[in-house]
């Protein structure tokens, strides 16, 4: 299939933008100027100024001499790039691949797009009309290659649409500038009297290469379609993407819900057929006033379950402000994964960790409140109590380490050990009594000590001698002495947990 490209040339990009912002300027000549080597040079002039023979590149003082009433504005660096990027994003409605062509153009890959507008002529007319309605003067052309479209948009006389395969013919009568050559090469061509492409395009390639360099050959090949040319689209198209343009702008919540439901159905059916599921989805709304609203969801496990995904989006749908209306909905899945086919259970049993319903519950909580609040723990190979568990990264993660059950561990562990006052009869004996939060506990039974060394390769510090003790009321505690017994040191004993 031959590809079709449209190039748009903004003839008066910056001045059109300024007159749109200040409508009073529409009928007055004005220019934009920027300082250059100590003088003010014109960077852009509007149509009226150009009629008075004021062109970009002139010195402002000269232009003022020609036209005393000329208005001069400061040019903002980077303005063109900013405007073109916004236009490129807006142009996505005409085709998914749009690239910025600095300093004053856009390139649209409209392969397979124009029939939606009823043919190429109608397609171009529509684009032109939309830009003209916004006050922008554009010239454009459509061809099989970017090079030809670019050339025809800027230098073409009559025909805007170049038929498939007609690149070479279209280029013949154009000047060499149309081929996007380097400035030096163009100058040399003119010096040699080669003022039209047809005068040199038939020359032997070796001669062209020798005289005008490799770049010239490349540009000629790109324009004629001998070599492929790539564009860098402003938005890379996600392979899993569904679009829903609307006849009338959507303003109601119900309308948005229906749009989402429809998009989810098509996307999920496609994912289902390919045996895939999405891990991340993005719902993008293009508003009439050129604003783009995006909401995103993520899932724990690949899923193509429409109802579940809809529920995840539902929480966030209320954040969409339709304002004047939404004219295009896009649903894309930037992250997809292969989905292992699930066996449908015949009986409704107790679900295990692999169950889809559990994953969906986790997704809902994670989307509403945040995934950082959900934890699952696995045993870790450390004796130090605080490090004996580690957080699992996913629901499926497993370790070879088994949960240890040989030493007593408290049901409740304090976040940090708390200091207690004790009376211990002998070194290495459990204390007789301790005071915790003002209450005296007389110890009746005790187990221990269990010495746990601090892991010196992780942190420095004293070891702990843990005792499990029970007081006269039957309450069981996990207490420890930090370091060896020392008569001088008093603050040595801590409580670390409560046994069941």
């Amino acid at each position: 299939m031959s590809r079709r490209f449209v190039t748009i040339w903004f003839r008066y990009l910056k001045t059109d933008w300024l007159s749109r912002r200040q409508p009073s300027l529409l009928h007055t000549p004005f220019i934009l100027a920027a300082p250059h080597h100590g003088r003010m040079l014109i960077t852009a002039a509007n149509i009226i100024a150009e009629k008075e023979n004021i062109y970009p590149g002139m010195v402002v003082a000269d232009a003022r001499a020609i036209l005393p009433g000329l208005q001069v504005f400061d040019d903002k660096p980077g303005l063109a790039a900013e405007l073109l990027k916004a236009f490129a994003e807006w142009c996505i409605r005409f085709g998914p691949l749009v690239a910025v062509d600095l300093p004053d153009g856009l390139i649209l890959d409209s392969t397979g797009c124009s029939h939606l507008w009823g043919g190429e002529a109608a397609y171009l007319t529509e684009i032109n009309k939309r830009f003209y309605a916004n006050g922008y003067h554009i010239r454009m052309a459509m061809a099989d290659t970017i090079g030809t479209a670019w050339a025809v948009a800027r230098f073409g006389k009559e025909n805007r649409i170049i038929e498939p395969g007609g690149q070479l013919h279209a280029l013949l009568s154009l000047p060499p500038e149309a081929l996007r050559l380097e400035a030096g090469v163009i100058e040399r061509l003119h010096k040699l009297g080669l003022r039209q492409v047809k005068q040199f395009i038939t020359m032997p390639r070796s001669a062209l290469h020798r005289r005008f360099g490799e770049h010239t050959i490349l540009r000629i090949d790109q324009a004629t379609g001998m070599k492929e040319e790539w564009i860098q689209p402003v938005h890379v198209v996600v392979p899993y993407q569904e679009r829903l343009p609307c006849l009338e702008p959507i303003v109601t919540a119900t309308g948005i819900e229906i749009a989402l439901q429809k998009l989810l159905e098509t996307l999920c059916n496609r994912l289902h057929k390919e045996g895939k599921g999405l891990r991340q989805a993005r719902f993008i709304c293009y508003r009439v006033d050129n604003k783009i609203i995006t909401i995103e969801i993520g899932t724990n496990r690949a899923s193509h379950h429409i109802n579940h995904l809809f529920k995840l989006f539902e929480e966030k749908l209320s954040t969409i402000e339709p304002d004047l209306g939404i004219e295009l909905f896009v649903l894309e899945a930037p992250k997809t994964e292969d989905l292992s086919p699930m066996q449908e259970k015949i009986w409704e049993g107790i679900c295990s960790l692999e169950n889809i319903r559990l994953a969906e519950l986790i997704d809902r909580v994670a989307n509403k409140i945040g995934a950082t609040h959900i934890h699952r723990y696995l045993p870790d190979e450390h004796y130090w109590p605080e490090r004996s568990i580690k957080q699992a990264s996913s629901l499926e993660e497993k370790t070879n380490t088994a949960w240890r059950n040989d030493k007593p561990r408290p049901a409740h562990l304090l976040a940090a050990p708390e200091y207690i006052d004790v009376a211990a009869p002998l070194p290495d004996y459990p204390p007789m009594l301790f005071r915790y939060k003002g209450k005296l506990h007389i110890i009746k039974k005790a187990d221990g000590p269990e010495r746990i060394e601090r892991e010196w390769w992780i942190e420095e510090g004293l070891h702990r001698d843990y005792y499990a003790v029970e007081d006269e009321e039957g309450h069981r505690y996990w207490i420890f002495r930090s370091g060896h017994y020392d008569q001088e040191k008093t603050h040595q004993w801590f409580i670390h947990g409560f046994f069941a």
Partner: protein, 244 residues
């Protein structure tokens, strides 16, 4: 004749229970743990699953004991690779300890939230999730409306919910099927053996719908819950007055 009459009464009671809203659990949902004498208190002598149970504790030591007992019940309900969701604001639970109560700690998913509103939302969502073995919620306050919502959620999904209320401001009426209070009892290893024995609890069932409340002294002996028999209890020696 006498036995026949008892049979009739038992049969009639069984017929009445479904009318009162009690559903009998499916085989793979039932509590696979022998509760001993406690089972007598339940309607139909089986632990009510698919309902909300309320646990009250007032001291940190009792909270730990309550956690232990919830752990036992959860372990009994999670035998078939089940999953538990544990939701709370300030979780103190140390997962490795649950191994001792027959629960695989890696099959518990903890959701730690700060606001009561979020906890209740997460609780309701979890209780609605069919197939979970249990959902444990740690929240001090629960009014009647909230408990009603949770109860309605489980009636559909048949999930068993345990609500642990630590230091509640007031113990109000609610729609939970039962109310438990667990306190720890001194353990015993036997005559003159030093050290701490199996955890022992004083389990009081303050309220149970269609059942008989009661109190039991039980011991968790590594994998079974058994009543404390008198000869096991270490009776404190009374000071005897010497004569002469």
């Amino acid at each position: 004749m006498q036995e026949n009459r008892e049979n009739i009464i038992a049969r009639l009671q069984k017929e009445i229970l479904p009318l009162q809203g009690l559903k009998l659990p499916a085989a793979n949902h039932a509590l696979q743990l022998d509760l001993g004498p406690i089972a007598e208190a339940f309607p139909n002598k089986s632990f009510p699953v698919g309902a909300i149970h309320e646990f009250i504790s007032h001291a940190p030591e009792d909270a730990a004991a309550t956690c232990g007992f919830i752990g036992c019940l959860t372990g009994g309900l999670m035998r078939n690779d089940g999953v538990c969701v544990w939701i709370g604001a300030s979780r103190k639970l140390f997962p490795p300890a649950l191994k001792g109560f027959g629960v695989d700690p890696d099959r518990i998913i903890f959701i730690d939230l700060k606001k009561d509103k979020e906890i209740l939302w997460a609780l309701e969502e979890a209780l609605k999730c069919e197939g979970l073995a249990t959902v444990v919620g740690e929240i001090p306050e629960m009014n009647f409306t909230v408990s009603r919502r949770l109860q309605l959620a489980v009636e559909q999904s048949r999930v068993t919910g345990f609500i642990h209320r630590y230091r509640p401001r007031n113990i109000n009426t609610n729609a939970c099927i039962s109310r438990w209070q667990i306190t720890s009892l001194p353990s015993a290893l036997g005559e003159n053996i030093p050290g701490i024995g199996f955890p022992r609890w004083d389990i009081s069932l303050l309220k149970i719908r269609n059942g008989k409340p009661g109190a039991w002294k039980m011991e968790w002996a590594s994998d079974i819950l058994r009543p404390i028999t008198p000869f096991m209890v270490a009776i404190p020696q009374e000071q005897k007055r010497k004569t002469g």
